[in-house]
Symmetry: C2
Amino acid sequence: MTNNIPENYDPSAFARPSVTVDVVIFSLVQDDLKVLLIKRKHPPFAGMWAIPGGFVRIEESLEDAAARELAEETNVRDVYMEQLYTFGQPDRDPRTRVITVTYFALVPHDAIHHYPGDDAAETGWFSVFDLPELAFDHREILDYALTRLRYKLEYTAVGFELLPDEFTLSELQKAYEIILHEPLDKRNFRRKILSADILEETGHMKKLGEGRPAKLYRYQQNAIAEVKTRRLFP
Amino acid sequence: MTNNIPENYDPSAFARPSVTVDVVIFSLVQDDLKVLLIKRKHPPFAGMWAIPGGFVRIEESLEDAAARELAEETNVRDVYMEQLYTFGQPDRDPRTRVITVTYFALVPHDAIHHYPGDDAAETGWFSVFDLPELAFDHREILDYALTRLRYKLEYTAVGFELLPDEFTLSELQKAYEIILHEPLDKRNFRRKILSADILEETGHMKKLGEGRPAKLYRYQQNAIAEVKTRRLFP
DNA sequence: ACAAAAGTGTTGAGAGTACACCCATGC
DNA sequence: GCATGGGTGTACTCTCAACACTTTTGT
């Protein structure tokens, strides 16, 4: 395709890097935004925590590979997943050239049935605000994922992907406060989210034992909620 | 790294796809937003137009590969470039598995010294509003690039990367109108862009022969201009 | 003097922000 | 009856959008 590499060159004859997918798995656990990490058992970086991932099989799409990795770690399928960025510094894996296509996934915590036994590797949920040292360039990947998640939350409704099907407005507000890491005004939050017309009442109430029972809402799956961005220029 | 592929497996022993970079090169030419395409001379898709690209060399970073492809086609370096998305459907190249990491570049047209002779391939600038049929999945890539460019223009100042160093406010407005494909109000445009404090007068005037001479401005390179997005929720 | 493009302000509407009290329930 | 969390309205500010005429130059 270029003057240096003839376009009729058989691409399969070229020196090829390895390609992996890594999946940053976010969930809300105990009033905190957490990510799932895996403890490496072998060099390089043995004993260090890493983002789950693995090689892309030669006949599977990138999305399929990412979904497979997610399912292997969490036994969850069909959750929100989005491609993040592709990292390919030549020295990012000391063994050989590895290019990694990264994804992030949003998993409602009640959907996870996590069997620590069925994977040889030790796994754990870590607060994004208190991370251990990570293998490879995984800290950079995770920082990027968090930036993107925050950003996306501000102009789309992906926040719902982290919640159970039915939730109270207070729970929803709490989720936004955790992720954005700032307090929100209750009245303004409710007015704005209800006027966006993306929620419907389920008719059920949630009784916590303490205080007045709260209405339960669900997200209208067909709702399209993208705010128009504030333009820098008119 | 998973239970299916042991993490101590030598990654270089794995079946590996080929990896390319493709670069969507945008420029403003003759009051139109155009992209640079290359006519393929060999199968597959011989005779069809394609986005410039090529294989990632085993020792170079993805960014270096993209910058190299850009320079080979345009003789331009050091322009705005940004990773777009990674496309990896197993059947996107009929020859073998090829994963492509795509970038887009913004090139001011006066910076391009385009020697059609020094590359065997025929190249051409095409309006993004009137594209020929493209090879592989390149139409999808291009549509994605255009969406991202428009989007990015609305909340950052990357539009300046398509303009010469010095420009008039009318030229700047014209550039925005071309890319956004909608007319803008002159007074509102000027008020908003001047109040953003990212331009400085050069002191020079542009005389077109017709009409009143216009002040020339330049972009303040140190200016950080990212607008905060309008939030979906408070 | 006229053609052509540059330059310049005001007003009305809608959205964002700040803020404090009453309500329903369990114990 | 009191502790706990749920639920509600209003006023001010700021940004956005619409809109038309004067100024400077070349011919």
